[in-house]
Symmetry: C2
Subunit: 305 residues, 2 copies
């Protein structure tokens, strides 16, 4: 079914227009109507236009009446404009059926919207990196996005590492799914834009962050009491960092092991999300069920949204 | 006058013992008695021993009765052991006259001590990077350290860039000096270890952090209300980051200009502090006066400590 997809740039400037054009062509080939925001290629230094331009783009996306508002790319730029976003307008757009989709820097927007209004946004692909690739976009990413666009999605499943298998069914019911990029989320701690989620399922991913930095960011969530209020923590992919010879065995798994000693709730890894091609779409702020049995993990949001 | 200097390793492991030996030899040549903690060369992965080892080293430093407790190096490791530090024992050592000196990762210790006890510690050199260099250590760093060791220091002065000159004397009186490494400090926001300083003079430095990351960390301090409670902000050196072609004119000065639009208090730069050879020693948690006239800036703590 043809859906209306609105493309806008709230964060870093688009570097290569060809990537965006390829992404648009792919969405059109899937049968969708694609609308480009007037400032989609705007540039002000490293940003997709100055702060006012990017705020206006967000508010045009909210006013577009589109089924999906999809970012061109992440980068950096949302954190500094959080005070200028008209959250009620965004929440009304969501109520009318617009799904806001993105990741990475977009985490700031998603969690601010959740903190201010309780409205659900989607962690999922960005147009450029995911649909604008040369060659075929990842098929799981595409299938999850199509489920999201059509409103048919009911959950996401993945396989856990052997060490995390559960012989008996583990269930976490009626928990609020939230999270995103760890660096962006942890930078919101102490601000009015960090959601106060109790009974939550927190998912996290990051890129270009050495494990010691991942650990330091996790200490911030831990010391602020955030990790202690969750029912489960789901770690997506932490990619593209450079180990040092000095690490001497300190690696991401060390941090995961450390994290498990700090919290009472279960910590599961390999959630297919992050700066990787194969990514699911996840409703930030939605009530979900987590079910784990054997090596199979599922996050289910049923017909709620 | 001979002083007793206790050397310990609360953060990352010492990589090259020769650096430490050179530093110790220099302090001895200055006439000091130097005592090495038993775990000064300990290693557990990237850390200077496991958490218990590093905590014990801190507590031995506090029990040493030394005039100065000086770190071998920064790196990473203090944030994760903050809950295990016996703050009263540290504050008692400070009361008895031990000056705790260091920088970078040490920022976590300093601010936690300030938050928990109000006791003053010193942002200054590390043994390895500052005294262990091949060739002669920086003479301003050495002079400031000697002032600190002898208790003779009364302040620090530096020259502002022309654009920051004040034709009329600007004074900030009876403010609390605090701060340190921006990445470490901002990671404490929301935790019990971030000092609640009103009427403060906040100084910040960092290394290996791109200006967009510096800005994002500053937004955290801004949004948490911390910047708004300061009487002045002093920026030290932000060094050794890699610009991207994509920045297109976004640089550290852009962030400084942005910061000045966010806060009412004055922001001065070029404070001789950070991951640079020429660094002053600064009392974290002490009442100070800031005076600026023309291009001359002074932070004065008089005979208080």
């Amino acid at each position: 079914m043809t859906k209306h997809i609105y493309i806008y740039s709230p964060s870093s400037a688009v570097g290569d227009r060809a990537v965006i054009k390829r992404g648009v062509a792919r969405l059109k080939a899937l049968g969708h109507e694609v609308e480009l925001d007037e400032a989609v290629f705007a540039r002000h230094m490293r940003f997709a236009g100055d702060d006012a331009t990017r705020l206006a783009a967000i508010h045009r996306a909210a006013a577009s009446g589109a089924d999906v508002a999809l970012i061109t790319r992440g980068g950096y730029g949302l954190t500094r404009i959080l005070p200028g976003i008209r959250y009620k307008a965004v929440a009304k757009a969501i109520e009318r059926g617009t799904r806001f989709v993105g990741l990475s820097d977009f985490t700031a927007f998603q969690n601010a919207v959740l903190a201010k209004t309780g409205a659900v946004t989607w962690s999922g692909p960005a147009l450029g990196e995911d649909f604008g690739v040369e060659g075929e976009p990842d098929d799981i990413m595409q299938a999850c996005f199509e489920d999201l666009v059509s409103g048919q999605g009911e959950g996401a499943g993945w396989q856990l590492p052997v060490s995390e298998r559960r012989d008996r069914l583990l269930q976490v019911k009626e928990a609020t799914l939230w999270g995103g990029n760890l660096a962006v989320l942890s930078s919101l701690v102490g601000s009015p834009w960090i959601p106060d989620i109790r009974n939550g399922i927190l998912f996290l991913e990051d890129v270009h962050e050495h494990p010691y930095r991942v650990e330091r960011m996790l200490t911030q969530l831990l010391y602020a009491g955030i990790l202690g209020r969750q029912k489960a923590i789901l770690l997506g992919h932490f990619t593209n960092y450079k180990p040092y010879p000095h690490d001497r065995g300190f690696k991401l798994q060390t941090v995961v092991d450390w994290l498990r000693l700090q919290v009472k709730c279960p910590v599961f890894t390999r959630l297919p999300f992050g700066h990787v091609a194969t990514k699911v779409a996840l409703p930030v702020g939605a009530p979900v069920h987590l079910a784990v049995e054997g090596r199979d993990a599922f996050v289910l949001w049923g017909h709620r949204h």
